[in-house]
């Protein structure tokens, strides 16, 4: 059964591509999330764009969803690409801390903060 692709409402702020997942990402739709992120990874490299996940509309993300972010970071890092997340709900922020994701992945309070940090290099 095919589902409509996950809409991440991509938008661009300067050299930053902003992706905004909505609702819940768990082990059931993590692969759709991965498929929706993938096309943007190609642009994420040194001299290209940075990738920012705006989590303000994300209610919950499971380990499978976090893994998609980690894989994206691993793929783009060797090419000099940069990935960050911003504006998590309090509950999602707690998930990031308990999973220690915040120690290996830049987490910013707001999209503006993140764009500024990514622009600063």
């Amino acid at each position: 059964m095919s589902q409509p692709p996950m809409d991440l409402s991509p938008r661009r702020i300067g050299d930053v591509i902003v992706l905004g997942p909505v609702g819940r990402i768990d082990h059931l739709n993590a692969d759709d999330f991965r498929a929706a992120v993938e096309p943007h990874l190609a642009h994420c490299e040194a001299g290209g764009a940075s990738l920012l996940f705006d989590l303000s509309a994300l209610e919950y993300i499971s380990s499978s969803g976090l893994r998609v972010l980690m894989v994206a970071a691993k793929q783009s890092k060797p090419r000099g690409g940069r990935i960050a997340v911003a504006a998590p709900h309090p509950v999602v922020a707690e998930v990031l801390e308990i999973s220690r994701f915040n120690l290996v992945f830049p987490v910013h309070a707001t999209v503006a903060d993140a764009v500024q940090a990514l622009a600063a290099g």
Binding site: H27, L28, A30, D31, Y60, S62, S63, S64, L66, R67, M70, K74, V91, E94, V95, I98, S99, R100, F101, L103, V104, F105
Partner: protein
């Protein structure tokens, strides 16, 4: 069914250092300041109410867990164990203390895998030296017997395997094939770990215990995840390899063969399990650190619980008994 944890530490046994004991005493004294205790009983009562990382310790023995179906009555008994890490030594000692050496017993041991921390207790497992005992070691690895013989004898140990007094038998099990042993239904399942490891689902009298240690969860294939959800389904207790944080397990320690508290909670929630024991603790973590992880894991369970009964989460410690 009673589950008794004899060894809960991952990779290598550890012990508290003098400095760590001193720090616990200092914290206890601080908590007691201004109080007066008339006798040791009053002091002991106060100590029992202190937070676990102050008055207790998660312990340092490597993996060994006992499944007790019926209480030993002094006569011959069928004991059931998972793994023979260093926790097997105090377990063996407790059997001898209770029954003496004259009572012949049967020991059924289910081996997750043959890494050193899971077999190292066997050379110092006293019942193995006593004629009349029968030790039956079950596992899915073809090299089961070879691994036990190799660590027992020169150059690693003074006593050769052939000198053991007990009768020792090795029984190869097949993954995904359920067998009944000592009245217990046992289902082995292959897991991701260097050299392979196997989880065991034990069922008896309507109760289910899942022993799943040294198991990495890649989370890249929903079918594999579903397989573990089925394996944990409706379990009364899951002992789960929670050695690393989730971020470590999928980044710097990817492919190291271990999992995290976060994945343990998620799988247990999806499987509708009742209790989750965090197991195979990282040896560099002290008691305070494990207690913090335990508290965070409970919080994680709380915020991720959706219309489901509460999953009871705790960090296993040497000496813990859980009645199912």
């Amino acid at each position: 069914m009673l589950i008794r944890f004899w060894g809960t530490r991952g990779s290598l046994p550890i012990a508290l250092t003098a400095r760590q004991v001193e720090a616990k005493i200092a914290q206890a004294l601080l908590a007691a300041s201004g109080r007066h205790f008339d006798d040791i009983a009053a002091a002991a009562k106060f100590a029992a109410e202190l937070p676990f990382p102050i008055a207790g310790t998660f312990g340092g023995h490597s993996s060994c867990v006992e499944i007790e179906l019926t209480e030993p009555d002094g006569g011959s008994h069928d004991y059931i164990l998972c793994d023979l890490g260093s926790g097997a030594r105090p377990f063996g000692g407790s059997v001898l203390a209770r029954q003496g050496a004259a009572t012949p017993n049967v020991f059924h041991v289910f081996m997750s895998h043959l890494h050193w921390d899971h077999i190292m207790g066997f050379p110092l497992f006293a019942p193995a030296y006593i004629p009349g005992n029968l030790i039956r070691i079950y596992g899915c690895h073809r090299t089961l017997e070879e691994a036990f013989r190799a660590q027992h004898g020169a150059p690693s140990f003074p006593v050769d395997f052939s000198q053991l007094g007990a009768r020792i038998e090795f029984v190869t099990l097949e993954p995904d094939v359920e067998v009944t042993i000592a009245g217990l239904k046992v289902l082995p399942k292959e897991q991701i770990h260097a050299g392979g490891s196997y989880g065991f689902r034990f069922e008896h009298d309507g109760k289910t215990f899942v022993y799943s240690t040294d198991s990495e969860h890649k989370l890249d294939d929903p079918d594999v995840t579903d397989g573990f959800i089925d394996f944990f389904r409706d379990a009364d207790l899951v002992a789960f390899d929670a050695m690393y944080s989730f971020a470590e397990a999928i980044s710097v320690k990817e492919d190291w063969g271990h999992s995290s508290n976060v994945v343990g909670v998620e799988l247990c929630q999806l499987a509708n399990a009742r209790r989750l024991a965090l197991f195979h603790h990282e040896p560099i973590h002290d008691d305070a650190r494990i207690a913090t992880i335990e508290a965070e894991t409970r919080r994680f369970e709380e915020i991720t619980r959706v219309d489901a009964p509460r999953l009871d989460v705790f960090a296993a410690y040497d000496g813990l008994e859980v009645r199912l």
